[in-house]
């Protein structure tokens, strides 16, 4: 069985596809902190400087999903699903002009998933 840390809803895929059409190659980065933090942000590939401290959680429709390793330490026992909701964040995330925001729904990893990822 294939295990995944991240998933995406159909609603979010639709927006993701629109963004791909407009901007080309993209990445997700999970933000932390104030205001619009603790939300996934999406940028053109190459816009954000990434290195070994950014953990690749998985690929969503071909788009890499990253999180800083410090934050990952507190998140690694949970499974994330990217969804979209009406709203208006104020970050540089590319979906904002559409009047929608990507949002994360989380659940605990199952015992099997946990022993696969965090053994």
């Amino acid at each position: 069985m294939e295990y995944k840390r991240v998933a995406i809803t159909d609603k979010a895929i639709k927006i993701l596809n629109q963004l791909k059409e407009k901007h080309g190659e993209l990445i997700f980065h999970q933000s932390g902190g104030c205001c619009d933090g603790s939300a996934p942000m999406i940028f053109e590939e190459g816009d954000m400087y990434l290195d070994d401290s950014d953990i690749l959680l998985g690929k969503l429709e071909g788009v890499n999903y990253y999180m800083n390793q410090d934050q990952f330490e507190y998140w690694k026992h949970t499974h994330l699903t990217v969804d979209a909701t009406e709203g208006r964040g104020s970050s540089f995330s590319l979906e904002i002009p559409f009047g929608v925001r990507f949002i994360i729904h989380s659940r605990l990893l199952t015992d099997e998933e946990n022993s696969h990822f965090n053994k």
Partner: protein
């Protein structure tokens, strides 16, 4: 007493080079009120070319503005303060409508504090001096403070006018021109302010650009025509802005949030007196401003031997919070600032429950009746758990408190510092040793001791760790907006003798 929704024009414009101007591309977005999800007005959806024109205007104005006297600049800052004060109720009402916070907060906190920050920096530049040192009998080292030039400022939506008033006065006082982008959720009070103060400053000194982060914020933060970027927001955007600034070798200041511990030692319950009453309120301050505060005391740490008795009172006080029409002066907690915030907060409450946190009160959306049924309200919520849970580690930016207990000082400190952030903290005790030693051992830029959520001008505010750097609301912010010109003067008539 209750107010009602204020009147707005159909649409508003950017403020560039001393005038209100339409966005070059002609696009606008609808700004809505989170109180009832109703339309407020249309605001410019600015693009790079609008930012370019503000940068041109600011650069054209910077030399003359940088050469004005401190007395002139201070006079203008004081005039701004007077105009906000003369229209305090109007500003408060517009802020409540745009952000969703209760009117008693805007009337008594947001707007009065904003006024004071303008006055504070007007006073600072009249009193401060440069420095001069006689290095030897014939050599004088003289330090003159010079403005950077053009400053870009990007502010959040949780305290719209107050965040503007933290950022703009020190930059202007230091002699810089400013281009400020308000958050797209809350553009109204910045616009109202410029309507009141447009005549005070020369054209180009203050510029306001509305719009979305990727379309207007990014071109502003990465512009080679600005000399500094100041940002309040979250970590990913913070990293991006630092990256863009590195291309221009520009300085930045960052305020990026926190997960602030609020620590109550057992001595707070030694007496059932006014101080204990204050301490209980101090724990319930997590619900202040709907929890949409970078320093929200969102992690409550209580010593185990008073835990049950203390929490009984905290829960009772939380249940007594009045959450209804934000325009009513008796309302204590209003609406979250936007639908996506509302959804995010509810999603965090869910993961908290899933991780095994116990809901002591709240835990759900708050459904209001009538026109408010379309607004974004969340019940003040207390979750009991442990510090490794995600609700203890991530900034939820909602009225959600995560509580846990500790045995002794060492454990309190271990939990308090087990976080990526270091913006604020609270320490409550009657023990004189703890009053000093515990705050010193906490890795955070602001530790409130036997109080919380006070933000007076003249007390520096800023973060450790991933909460950022730079110190606002204090005269030391001036140096984040200035260069030091060192003049090294020789009074020696004799040559060195090398050549």
């Amino acid at each position: 007493m209750s107010y009602s929704k204020p009147k707005f024009k159909e649409g508003y414009e950017n403020f560039i080079n001393g005038k209100f101007v339409a966005p070059i591309g002609g696009q606008y977005f609808d700004n809505t009120s989170p109180i009832d999800n109703s339309l407020i007005a249309k605001y410019p959806r600015s693009q790079k070319e609008d930012v370019d024109s503000a940068v041109v205007a600011a650069n054209a104005a910077k030399e003359a503005w940088g050469n004005t006297s401190a007395a002139e600049r201070a006079g203008m800052l004081n005039k701004v303060a007077d105009l906000i004060e003369a229209n305090l109720e109007e500003f408060a009402l517009v802020e409540t409508c745009d952000n969703g916070k209760p009117i008693r907060e805007t009337l008594n906190a947001d707007i009065p504090l904003s006024i004071d920050h303008w006055r504070y920096f007007a006073a600072v530049i009249r009193a401060e001096e440069g420095s001069a040192t006689e290095l030897d009998a014939n050599t004088l080292s003289m330090n003159i403070k010079e403005p950077l030039g053009v400053v870009a400022q990007i502010i959040p939506w949780n305290f719209p006018l107050l965040m503007l008033s933290w950022k703009m006065p020190p930059a202007l006082a230091a002699g810089n021109c400013v281009i400020l982008k308000p958050a797209e959720q809350t553009p109204s009070t910045a616009t109202l302010l410029l309507e009141k103060i447009a005549e005070i400053f020369p054209p180009g000194v203050i510029n306001i650009i509305h719009g979305f982060g990727p379309e207007a914020g990014k071109p502003l933060a990465s512009h080679s025509g600005v000399d500094k970027v100041a940002f309040t927001g979250e970590t990913t955007t913070g990293q991006l802005i630092m990256q863009y600034a590195s291309k221009n070798l520009n300085p930045v200041t960052m305020e990026l949030g926190g997960k602030s511990p609020n620590i109550f030692f057992n001595s707070v319950m030694d007496e059932d007196d006014a101080f204990l009453d204050k301490a209980i309120e101090g724990a319930v301050l997590f619900a202040f401003n709907q929890g949409e505060v970078c320093t929200c005391p969102s992690r409550l740490l209580v010593q185990e031997d008073i835990y049950d008795a203390f929490m009984e009172r905290v829960v009772a006080r939380t249940k007594a919070i009045v959450q209804k029409n934000p325009y009513d002066v008796n309302t204590m907690v209003g609406a979250q600032a936007s639908n996506d915030q509302y959804e995010k907060i509810l999603s965090y409450i869910n993961i908290g429950k899933e991780e095994g946190a116990k809901v002591l009160t709240g835990g759900e959306a708050c459904k209001l009746d009538g026109e408010f049924s379309n607004g974004f309200y969340v019940q003040p919520t207390i979750l009991e758990g442990h510090n490794k849970m995600r609700v203890f580690q991530e900034e939820i930016f909602g009225p959600v408190l995560s509580v846990t207990k500790f045995k002794d000082e060492a454990e309190a400190l271990e939990i308090a510092n087990d976080t990526l952030y270091g913006l604020g903290a609270g320490v409550w005790t009657r023990d004189a040793h703890q009053l000093y030693q515990i705050p010193r051992a906490i890795k955070a830029g602001r530790v409130w001791v036997n109080c919380y959520h006070a933000y007076p001008a003249h007390a520096p505010f800023g973060g450790y760790k991933k909460s950022g750097f730079g110190r606002e609301t204090h005269l030391m912010m001036m140096n984040h907006y200035r260069q030091t010109k060192n003049m090294l003067i020789s009074y020696d008539k004799n040559k060195l003798g090398f050549f």
